[in-house]
């Protein structure tokens, strides 16, 4: 038996049982995505048509690699939250919804890990 009031228990939770955390994180990563996406596009255009050696050299340089790593982190987290909203809106069967939410989290983490690994290898390894 809890002595908390019903309002205190429900406050900040909402239908997703996690309150407005997703809303806030979606806005936070969206804000970060604006300069990072512009940086990513500048990097992409400057790499167009270059051969492998030049691409490796540019992608592995500190400033470019840091922008790319931040871009990868912010974008994959942003898209994980966004796709979860889509799943919660359109997948009504509880089992499928649960499976889709899990698959979405795994997909975002795999994309982030693979892209970050490639960037780190370009920076330190080869």
């Amino acid at each position: 038996m809890s002595i908390r009031t019903p309002l205190a228990r429900v406050r900040g939770l909402g239908s997703a049982k996690s309150g407005t955390g997703h809303f806030w994180h979606q806005r936070l990563t969206a804000l970060a995505n604006v300069p990072l996406t512009i940086g990513f596009i500048v990097i992409l255009v400057s790499l167009l048509g270059r051969n492998h050696a030049a691409v490796v050299q540019i992608l592995g340089s500190p400033l470019v690699a840091i922008v790319m790593l931040l871009f990868i982190g912010s974008v994959t987290y942003h898209m994980k939250i966004g796709m979860q909203v889509v799943i919660e809106d359109y997948v009504h069967d509880e089992t499928w919804k649960f499976a889709a939410v899990i698959a979405n989290i795994f997909f975002a983490i795999i994309v982030a890990a693979a892209a970050a690994y490639a960037m780190l290898k370009l920076s330190f390894g080869v």
């Binding site: 806005r27 969206a30 804000l31 995505n33 604006v34 996406t37 596009i41 255009v45 400057s46 167009l48 048509g49 270059r50 051969n51 492998h52 050696a53 030049a54 691409v55 490796v56 992608l59 790319m68 990868i72 974008v75 994959t76 898209m79 966004g82 796709m83 889509v86 994309v111 693979a114 892209a115 690994y117 490639a118 960037m119 290898k121 370009l122 390894g125 080869v126």
Partner: protein
């Protein structure tokens, strides 16, 4: 919950869905924002392929360059850049709306028009610049 009998739940009237409303530009842009978001989600696989190929070596990288040079590859890349920029413009519009501004009947129409025109113009400029860069001697 006091009443757990949900037998009548299936018979309750539903609120009207999309099909009943006259399509408006703000509605279309809302849908496109979600669609571009989902397209970008799938498009991250291209990003991963590109970066892993660069990290793997010249042969793997040549395959990516070959694919991006085909008509299908260029269409996908063009669509990806437009989706990225359109979603970014849409996000900035949502930031304005988050502050409580821009909801007036003329303001909201103006915002979505600028977003749509801006994303198309920016994407075309980017590709023109991209081709100009590629045209140079490397």
């Amino acid at each position: 919950m006091a009443n757990t009998d949900l037998s009548g739940a299936k018979n309750r009237p539903l609120s009207p869905h999309l099909s009943i409303y006259k399509p408006t530009l703000t509605m279309m842009m809302s849908i496109v924002h979600r669609v571009t978001g989902m397209a970008l989600y799938a498009g991250t696989l291209l990003l991963v392929w590109w970066l892993l190929a660069a990290a793997s070596g010249p042969n793997a990288y040549m395959k990516v360059q070959w694919f991006m040079g085909t008509l299908v590859g260029e269409v996908i890349l063009f669509g990806y850049t437009w989706a990225l920029i359109h979603h970014m413009f849409g996000g900035i519009r949502h930031f304005i709306w988050d502050t409580g501004h821009g909801f007036g009947p003329t303001e909201r129409e103006w915002l979505v028009r600028v977003g749509l025109a801006g994303s198309i113009v920016t994407t075309v400029i980017l590709w023109v610049v991209g081709y100009a860069v590629m045209g140079g001697s490397r």
